[in-house]
Symmetry: C2
Subunit: 361 residues, 2 copies
Amino acid sequence: MKIGVLGGGQLGRMLALAGYPLGLRFRFFDTAADAPAGHLAELGVGNYDDTEALERFAEGLDLITYEFENVPVETARFLQRLAPVYPPPQALEAARDRVVEKTFFRSLSIPTPLFYPVLTKNDLLQGLEQVGYPALLKTRTLGYDGKGQAKIATPADADKAWEELGGTPLVLEAWVTFEREVSILAVRGRSGEMVFYPLVENLHQQGILRRSLAPAPRLTQALQAQAEEYARRVLLNLEYVGVLAIEFFQVQGQLLANEMAPRVHNSGHWSIEGAETSQFENHLRAVCGLPLGSTAPREYSAMLNLIGKLPEPKDVLAVPGAHLHLYGKEPRPGRKLGHVTLRAESREELEERLEALSGIL
Amino acid sequence: MKIGVLGGGQLGRMLALAGYPLGLRFRFFDTAADAPAGHLAELGVGNYDDTEALERFAEGLDLITYEFENVPVETARFLQRLAPVYPPPQALEAARDRVVEKTFFRSLSIPTPLFYPVLTKNDLLQGLEQVGYPALLKTRTLGYDGKGQAKIATPADADKAWEELGGTPLVLEAWVTFEREVSILAVRGRSGEMVFYPLVENLHQQGILRRSLAPAPRLTQALQAQAEEYARRVLLNLEYVGVLAIEFFQVQGQLLANEMAPRVHNSGHWSIEGAETSQFENHLRAVCGLPLGSTAPREYSAMLNLIGKLPEPKDVLAVPGAHLHLYGKEPRPGRKLGHVTLRAESREELEERLEALSGIL
């Protein structure tokens, strides 16, 4: 079976690494000729609106999936005429625009932070009255890793934020004082089978994920059940197939949905060593119509992103329980170049190993 | 870092899958253009005595290793002038000929079954007097998976065995009535660091490995210590770098060395899911001069080879704890096409899962 993947970044690379043992073959499509997945599979290069390049890409593929959420919906719909596309394009549509996404969550009775769509400066001022201070002004589309957003702490910040971001559709979001950020990875197969990974606790800095702990410390059954119920509503409504990630703020024991990603997700990388079946393998099992694998965690894991520059591999690998994942990308400030998963038999051991690793990173 | 690998079969494929996350790149060399490793890395095609093809292969490589033990020693020595070669060519030399190999074991005070070199029919008759009945007549070189051997149960079988195999250097080996077959995977790094996986119990049929249990049931510290001591002698004597496998017969609580392989080994495939660090990753860590990873087993594993024909992937994946590994090879009788690793939290659970899987294979 040959799978086409839109996007050839690290997520695609890890999909291929999980898929070869299942006997799958891969072809990637990316705008960059040096995309990391090209090291280990065929890579077609082109723009997402280049129908000729897309047709060449689709030739002989059994199905198409994506690892990049900013694939234009039109591209996915165009390809759907050539091969089955999973997850379904409506999932891209629901996730690509922050206003559409939050409206979608609310339509499923999934709580979200307060938000207000902003097209004009006047919308911004009205929005600030509604959501209060501090607030976050964000582009509705194409934002990632903290790009395309500005904090408005006091009325005086509004002008600067508008200057920075105005002119494109925006959304103003209430600043949430959360206890922590958590995320769930949910998987739905072509037969409708669903499985869920345990919630993980995420730490972001400057809008970029730095660290995940899996399972989330002090995870209660009630919280896990709430997250699974929300994820189930999304999966069913979108007739979803594949892995879906939803990020939540945890506030007074309740979950507020922040955003979702219709793909494998950085906060699920721990599952390669830390779960019985990785998110990458389960995504492939789902889109290929195979039975889903167990999401049970294997003891305790921490995932740390390597951002901007790389440590010496030998230093990382000398830490007990450390597993190194490099993406084959050129170092650049703010760029995700790899990650390390630490595994341990107990929380205490994990803390010790985290401390040892922190000295290196 | 770019690694060259002689041989492009499933072992090479699994080396590459383990090496990409370490940031390594790969180029394989094989006599077959459809070698399985070619699906996911560069593949040079040529004969092992084609020095021009070998020179092209070696260009720009940081080091060279092998996944195929019948690489001619001359090939390895030729390549050594172009890039470092690990494990060292003398390991190929020690392992390629059954008489040299057993003599080498005995020189290190590692017990082996009785054996007798056979060049002529007369040697065979003298040998049978020495080692008794039943005995095994084998080619000294190039044997694998039960090929190139004949059992001599009674004097009457000697003629037939000679007709079948005579004309090439042979060895007559005593038939060992063993309690079981076990093997150890040992790893030595470039710095001299050594680690050892727990002994596994192997079941062969028609000379082909069918199943490994890891760790070996009822494994005592004394038996593990004995195997490690023998492996240590071999590693040190050969100034070995990389993974080495030694197969033993267990007879009355003692180990008799049967053969060794200077490479990653089928009886170590369980380590992908069943150990903290897989044999493939540890081989690469060793040859790259990186710290070796923990060989600690993660609960209980069984590895089953898929030989000759493949089951339906969906049936295999529906068994809890089953991990499928397909090699991308065309089915053919007696050919290793893939393997399944079963993991479980207890021996009892493993037995149940083995039973469920047996119904499918």
